[in-house]
């Protein structure tokens, strides 16, 4: 009997511990992550994995929108904006125990700046031709020099997850709070806490508080809502207004409205010379009065109320008010005034004939708006815009297309008249939108790839964007970009519609979740998220 005591005790212990539940946070990814290599991340789901597992030199605090030290305890950008020197934290190890040092930063930047890589993270650093040079000053001090000044250089390192130069696990050895323990394609990604994570809370307890994060893969939003309402998942990082309101009625403690997000919805007219549209229509779209009239005729308050249930605000420009530093507070509010719209159109020779608007050539004003199919909010918005423009005599055809067809029309063939899309995953720094505003760029949607600016205001925007890209002090950059926003509000190459609110679902069992506008809205402070004591006592 005595011989059996030890095995019996061990068995009982095993049984007891098998019943202990891990503090495992669960939420959904909407598709399989395309890569676990942080240098190649371009889709939102891979970005989630990178955020949860990657260790960065500096971290943008999503709440204060200020930069904070992480793996770098201090940094300094040179006056010419080309060099940044980091003082690295000592005694840090990767998840597999490999020590972290300057050589890992050098390795990461070499990989990132490979011209064959073609990743958004790497391209953000490309301010000019030439190679980056990395000088390891000491094992914990490194200096990186770029071929040309990079605006907002230090903030870009928030996206750079440091990879190990020497670990046999390559990019799977991480410095973040979690590491990828298991991946079942199409089913889930299981993250476990990094046993070597360097951070501790104020009381000296090792972070993160959570033991694991399980990211199940589910594209259906209805199922996501169902599972959330049944407490099978704990977070919904972005929720439609319809679902939000429904859940708010039945379980108000589970939903939070974090105010305007950084996202926006907008429409624009095709002004490209290569556009395969009638010349008289091109003339309409190139008229500032026409664009202003369309903007004045759209009732944005109704869009916010009807489509978003009040969880949106009328947009004033390319930057959301949630972007505390870069938003131009002097921009006028978007107006709804159909009489003023008709007056502007009359100045351009348009007139109403039997309730239909015609131009000076007698052509009835009729055009199509294309948008992507399957997005209910956008479909409703375009239907409301169609009704608003009908009131001033414009006939609008709504065409919903699948995404590749849409991309082909707006980026390659230019055979569309007007388009409506949204800006999501918006970065705070306007330099990341450089390609939208430069007239020579592919992403200058309304008239891309111009050999020289077609209008004086586009030339002015080009100049101002270059000023903000090369200026090293934020005040100069802010002045330049404020002026860009003013020009855009006046000329309306994009007609900004709404800034939707950040609507999230947070289980009441969680503590430490502070929803914010910037992505990731709910788990940006993942290290400090934990389950409440009550949950630990519940069967769940």
């Amino acid at each position: 009997m005595r011989r059996l005591m030890l095995p019996l005790c061990l068995l009982l212990l095993a049984l007891a511990t098998s019943g202990m539940c891990l503090d495992e946070l669960r939420f959904y990814l909407h598709s399989d992550p395309k890569t676990f290599n942080p240098a190649l991340v371009a889709d939102p789901d891979s970005e989630t994995i990178r955020y949860l597992t990657g260790g960065v030199l500096v971290r943008l605090n999503r709440q204060t929108q200020q930069l904070e030290p992480e793996l770098a305890t201090a940094w300094k950008v040179s006056k010419d904006g080309k060099t940044i020197t980091f003082q690295l934290r000592q005694g840090v190890r990767f998840s597999d125990g490999t020590p972290f040092g300057a050589q890992d930063v050098q390795f990461t930047m070499t990989v990132l700046m490979d011209p064959m890589l073609h990743s958004p993270t790497g391209d953000a650093f490309r301010s000019g031709q030439g190679k980056i040079s990395a000088a390891i000053l000491t094992p914990n001090r490194i200096s990186l020099t770029f071929p040309a000044p990079v605006a907002g250089l230090e903030k870009l390192f928030d996206q750079v997850a440091i990879m190990s130069a020497s670990s046999p696990k390559k990019e799977m050895a991480v410095l973040g709070p979690f590491y990828v323990a298991e991946y079942k394609p199409g089913a889930y990604v299981a993250l476990h806490r990094n046993p070597n994570y360097w951070k501790h809370d104020d009381a000296g307890r090792a972070l993160p508080y959570l033991d694991a994060v399980k990211l199940e893969i589910q594209s259906n939003r209805d199922i996501e809502m169902l599972k959330f309402s049944r407490n099978e998942i704990h977070l919904i990082n972005a929720m439609d207004a319809d679902y939000f309101d429904r859940l708010a009625r039945s379980a108000p403690d589970k939903v939070r409205d974090a105010g305007p997000s950084l996202d926006s919805e907008m429409m624009w007219f095709n002004q490209a010379s290569e556009a395969s549209i009638a010349s008289y229509k091109l003339e309409w779209f190139r008229s500032r009065n026409f664009r202003q009239a369309v903007s004045l005729s759209i009732n944005r308050d109704d869009l916010c109320k009807v489509v978003y249930g009040g969880h949106a605000i009328p947009a004033r420009g390319p930057v959301s008010p949630a972007n505390k530093y870069w938003f131009n507070t002097q921009l006028p509010q978007a107006r709804f005034d159909q009489e003023d719209a008709l007056r502007l159109l009359q100045e351009d020779g348009f007139r109403l004939v039997d309730g239909r608007l015609v131009d000076r050539g007698g052509h009835p004003v009729q055009f199509s708006i294309i948008t992507n199919a399957g997005n209910r909010s956008r479909e409703r918005m375009v239907s409301m815009i169609q009704a608003d423009l009908r009131a001033i005599g414009m006939q609008v055809n709504v065409v919903t297309l699948d995404f590749p067809s849409l991309i082909q029309r707006i980026s390659e063939a230019f055979n569309y008249e007007a388009a409506m899309l949204g800006l999501t995953n918006v970065e705070l720094d306007p330099n990341e939108q450089m390609n939208v505003w430069l007239s020579s760029s592919d992403q200058h949607q309304w008239n891309p790839r111009q050999s020289s600016p077609a209008t004086s205001w586009e030339a002015e925007i080009d100049r101002l964007m270059r000023v903000q890209a090369s200026a090293m002090d934020d005040k100069t950059r802010k002045r330049a970009f404020d002026r860009v926003q003013e020009i855009v509000a006046d000329e309306l190459p994009f007609i900004y519609l709404v800034n939707q609110n950040a609507l999230v679902g947070v289980s009441p069992a969680l503590q430490g979740v502070v929803p914010v506008a910037a992505r990731p809205q709910t788990y940006w402070d993942i290290e400090h998220i934990r389950f409440s004591v009550e949950r630990a006592n519940n069967a769940n």
Partner: protein
């Protein structure tokens, strides 16, 4: 059975009358958006409530029924006729013709026609009116939806070809044409009719799914399929019962049409 048929005829007539003539009645505007009363339940002004942008649900149901009532049966008819040509005729002919037809049907059942539909959409001018684009959508559905009925008709025609009464007629000197037209075709008609009635709701739903690709009926024109698409959201499934009105109308219409016009298989 006579009473059932009479009731079905009355129901079909009523639905047809309302859907064709309802738009002439004042207050049944399917376009107007009442933005003060959106996503609401039944009321005095809006008997079936309003949709997500404040349009009258009853008006949209009436118009949607008209669109689907006109176009889905037309598409079903096209598909059944094509199925007859590709399936029944070769099935009766036999030999190489039958084998080629089987191969073509197998391909038709398994090719990704989704891309052809996208090509059709790309070829249409962006300013095509909603009515024209709806007609084209349903036509294309009919032109592509013959695979399943063709396979069934082929098998049936083959069985008839090998049946005793056909062998007897052939031995008696009846020509192929007369054999097919007088003896085989009447035996195929019930199967074709059954396939037609199956195809009607299938095409209505297919149009709804096509709207996810930009190929459905364009705004602001409603269709039964578009109204049914709302049921795919968990919100609609659990909220307002008026969301089920389109489904109710579809089921009643299809069932009534079957009872009213489908000849019983007892010949």
């Amino acid at each position: 059975m006579k009473i059932a048929r009479m009731v079905a005829i009355v129901v079909v007539s009523l639905i047809t009358l309302i859907s064709m003539g309802g738009s002439l009645l004042p207050g049944f505007d399917y376009i107007r958006q009442d933005r003060k009363h959106f996503s609401e339940g039944p009321s005095y002004e809006h008997w079936l409530g309003t949709d997500a942008v404040g349009r009258d649900r009853l008006a949209r149901l009436i118009h949607g029924t008209r669109v689907s009532l006109l176009l889905a049966p037309a598409a079903a008819w096209i598909s059944v006729v094509l199925a007859f040509v590709v399936g029944a005729a070769p099935g009766f002919a036999g030999g190489v013709t039958e084998r080629m037809a089987k191969a073509i049907i197998d391909l038709a059942l398994s090719l990704p026609w989704f891309f052809l539909l996208l090509m059709v959409r790309a070829m249409l001018p962006l300013n095509t009116s909603p009515a024209v684009s709806a007609a084209i959508t349903f036509s294309v559905l009919g032109l592509l939806g013959w695979g399943v009925p063709a396979r069934i008709l082929l098998a049936r025609a083959r069985r008839l070809r090998q049946s005793e009464f056909v062998a007897l007629a052939r031995a008696g000197g009846v020509s192929h044409r007369r054999l097919f037209g007088v003896h085989v075709l009447p035996n195929l008609l019930p199967v074709m009719t059954a396939q037609f009635w199956i195809a009607v709701p299938v095409f209505i739903l297919a149009e709804a799914n096509l709207s996810l690709l930009g190929l459905g009926v364009a705004e602001p024109l409603p269709s039964l399929g578009g109204l049914l698409r709302d049921l795919e959201s968990g919100l609609s499934v659990r909220s307002d019962l008026c969301n089920f009105a389109a489904l109710f109308v579809l089921v009643v219409m299809v069932s009534s049409l079957q009872v009213a016009f489908m000849k019983h298989e007892v010949s």
